[in-house]
């Protein structure tokens, strides 16, 4: 779906991308990084808005610079989209459909309207709120049965219901065979839908792989209420660094086995398991902080 090799791009003296390479073969991928990491630059190069200094970038096996037709099968949502304000939402979607060579325009518009709950298509875009504008732009990148959808900060400007609907729509469309490449720094949202992750920082890839593989790397978190088992805190302190956050005791380790073994030892020694004991894999945020070296 996406192939990027040794991509380099500088803006003056600032290196936006410094030899980025990755392959995305389908599903839902998240491009994660702080502001200025180079996420938007990758998307701009992939979609033909910016030209790389060196390296290669392909969408569906083709470069947009040599074959614009490839964009008929790719939906693109840029950060802070600006749909035309002089037409209605419906006319805008019709325009995108026509330019993409879509035949059944009415059906396509009806389909995306239902998915994104767009009940304001007949109104002029000039009167849309920020959230409505975001949703119509998302709709524009979903018309025409794309094989791949590239989104830069798709949940920006959306209220909680809008975010929920979008994430639900992505999950549904993924089931229909559409792949998504999403850039965001709102990690809890990406966590719900992404199968592949690319961590980017200062123009370089810190880590990439499947979500499942990454979660196995830890750090794993053991938490429980300190009031319920003060003796467990002392027991764990012998092997781990124990943090107390309010009433909650938190223990982090990159090895799930050592955590489980320690708890087993505690039980064997007659210890009582607290009712709220929880052992969970890392969140995307924790993973990112870990690979950046910002974890505690």
């Amino acid at each position: 779906m996406i192939s990027v090799r040794e991509l380099r791009k500088s803006y003056g003296k600032v290196k936006a991308l410094d030899g980025v390479s990755f392959e995305f073969s389908g599903g839902v991928a998240g491009l994660i990084g702080p502001n200025g990491a180079g996420k938007t630059t990758i998307i701009r190069i992939l979609t033909g808005l910016a030209r790389q200094d060196s390296g290669e970038a392909y969408l569906l096996g083709k470069s947009v610079w040599s074959d614009r037709g490839v964009l008929k099968k790719v939906g693109v949502l840029h950060e802070k989209p600006k749909p035309p304000t002089w037409v209605s939402g419906k006319r805008f979607l019709e325009h995108v459909c026509k330019v993409k060579g879509v035949e059944d325009i009415e059906n396509q518009i009806r389909r995306v309207s239902e998915i994104l709950d767009l009940d304001y298509l007949d109104r002029s875009i000039s009167g849309y709120s920020a959230g409505m504008t975001q949703r119509i732009s998302i709709a524009a990148c979903l018309v025409g049965d794309p094989e791949l959808v590239i989104m830069d900060e798709p949940t920006a400007n959306l209220d909680p219901i809008g975010r929920f609907r979008l994430l639900r729509a992505i999950a549904k469309l993924k089931g229909d065979g559409i792949s998504f490449f999403i850039s965001s720094h709102i990690l809890p949202e990406l966590e719900k839908i992404c199968e592949h992750i690319i961590f980017l920082n200062e123009g370089k890839i810190l880590m990439k792989g499947s979500m499942e593989e990454m979660r196995k790397m830890g750090p794993f978190t053991l938490s429980f209420s300190g009031k319920e088992a003060p003796e467990l805190i002392e027991f764990l302190k012998k092997s781990f660094t124990v943090e107390v956050e309010g009433d909650t005791v938190v223990v982090r380790s990159t090895s799930i086995d050592s955590l489980v073994n320690r708890i087993s030892d505690y039980v064997k020694n007659g210890g009582r398991i607290p009712r709220d004991l929880e052992l969970r894999p890392p969140t995307l945020e924790e993973l990112f902080l870990m690979v950046r070296g910002d974890d505690r």
């Binding site: 808005l49 614009r68 490839v70 693109v76 330019v99 060579g101």
Partner: protein, 247 residues
């Protein structure tokens, strides 16, 4: 690809027609064309003078039409249309999203330019046809269908092409729509006034009825030169638009 390109032109026309440009232009050109027909000529500035000779009351009433002759309006509208379609689209971010659709930048450029060209042409030709209807209702159909009308169309197209191509180049190069509009307009006005009475006077063609209906070789050569310059400017603008990567 042809269907997609046609849609681009229709889209750009809808973009510029969000302003009541067409209505204002048809109204204005109808008015000035009326004056020109009074002088049995096709351009306004000179026809107005001719039309007003010996008609002092009309001179007083319509003096502004001499101060604001038709070329100035074409310059102004050219500057506004080009800045709206190119610089403003870039400023507002519309161009960024347009560039991510499966159309070439050349197609987007040509669609924008043709939309502006069509809008200007349609407004002027509509005004001429409306005036013919008012001035000569009985012979209207014959005049509209006469070979002279084809020549009139060629003259109108020539007079639109040059200012619009100059404005387009400045708008494609510009980053601020207001500055693009002002600089295009001032440049066109400057060229126009410099040309008057100098070796550049060929820029302002004396469009008398005789010149239009029976153009001399000299006139045809001037039209060809104007088209050559216009096409060159359009080509340069398109080249730069295509290479304007960072939208």
């Amino acid at each position: 690809m042809r269907k997609e390109f046609l849609e681009e032109i229709v889209w750009e026309l809808s973009s510029v027609s969000r302003y009541p440009v067409l209505e204002i232009l048809v109204g204005f050109f109808s008015f000035t064309a009326m004056l020109s027909f009074m002088g049995n000529m096709y351009t306004v500035e000179s026809q107005c003078l001719r039309a007003l000779e010996g008609k002092y009351w009309l001179h007083v009433e319509l003096a502004w039409s001499i101060i604001v002759p038709q070329p100035i309006i074409i310059f102004l509208i050219s500057a506004v249309l080009a800045a709206t379609l190119f610089t403003r689209a870039l400023e507002a971010g519309y161009l960024r999203d347009e560039f991510s659709l499966p159309v070439t930048r050349t197609s987007i450029f040509m669609a924008k330019f043709l939309a502006a060209f069509l809008l200007l042409f349609l407004s002027i030709i509509t005004a001429v046809v409306v005036c013919l209807l008012f001035l000569d209702p009985a012979g209207w159909a014959i005049t509209v269908l006469s070979p002279s009308m084809a020549k009139v169309i060629i003259f109108i197209l020539t007079e639109i092409a040059l200012p619009l191509s100059i404005s387009t180049l400045l708008s494609v190069l510009g980053k601020n729509s207001f500055l693009s509009t002002i600089s295009s307009f001032l440049l066109l006005m400057g060229l126009y006034f410099i040309a008057r009475g100098t070796f550049l006077s060929w820029i302002i063609m004396p469009y008398t009825f005789e010149v239009i209906t029976s153009p001399s070789n000299e006139t045809i050569k001037l039209i060809a030169v104007k088209w050559g310059i216009s096409l060159l400017l359009v080509g340069v603008s398109c080249y730069y638009f295509e290479r304007r990567v960072e939208a």
